[in-house]
Subunit: 117 residues, 2 copies
């Protein structure tokens, strides 16, 4: 089965949306904390642009990562689970097949997943 063929019923879509938003909130909280840490440790005021560079990278990465298309959601959840922003309890209620795919997918290189899963 390809992850592109996965079907999401209305109940699962609701669970997925909540899980997705929670992961996003956790990651944003982490970025904010890292930002605060960087600023308080910044000894040279003139290096404040390093913080801008950091935020630019984070923003690009987050924008790329949080793709809510259903065709991508297994991959996205796999990655978020691996990175710790998604918790297993967040996806309770999804079908066993989807949970299995999510757990497997995060261990596999993205370029292989489409064919393997």
């Amino acid at each position: 089965m390809s992850i592109l063929d996965v079907k999401w019923d209305p109940k699962e879509k609701k669970i997925a949306r909540t899980a997705f938003d929670r992961a996003y909130q956790r990651e944003m909280a982490e970025i904010k904390a890292a930002l605060l840490d960087q600023i308080t440790k910044l000894k040279d005021d003139e290096k404040v642009w390093s913080i801008h560079n950091y935020l630019s990278e984070c923003r690009a990465e987050v924008d790329r990562k949080y793709d809510y298309r259903y065709s991508q959601l297994i991959l996205v959840f796999g990655r978020l689970l691996k990175e710790g922003y998604l918790k297993e309890e967040d996806i309770v209620g999804l079908s066993d097949d989807k949970i299995k795919l999510i757990k497997v997918c995060h261990q596999i290189n993205k370029s292989n997943i489409i064919h393997v899963c």
Copy 2:
């Protein structure tokens, strides 16, 4: 006299460089303090990109403003003096003509200065 014709002798160039750097340091310190203030006041973690937007604007503005070409320095110093990043004591040692131009220029719209000064 056009500000484009202003000549800077070696002693004045040294004073100008130091004054320019001091103004830059003051502005960067202010940006850092504002940044810290914004982060500590940020109640919604998901609005952390507003800080990125703020820094992007500051960076573009600072990059535009701090133009060390001698043909622009009177204008730049005029603006920095007006904004408080440059102090009058920073430019002590420049010729009276230059100091007068700097003090006059900050009150005039940039588009008029080239012709008026």
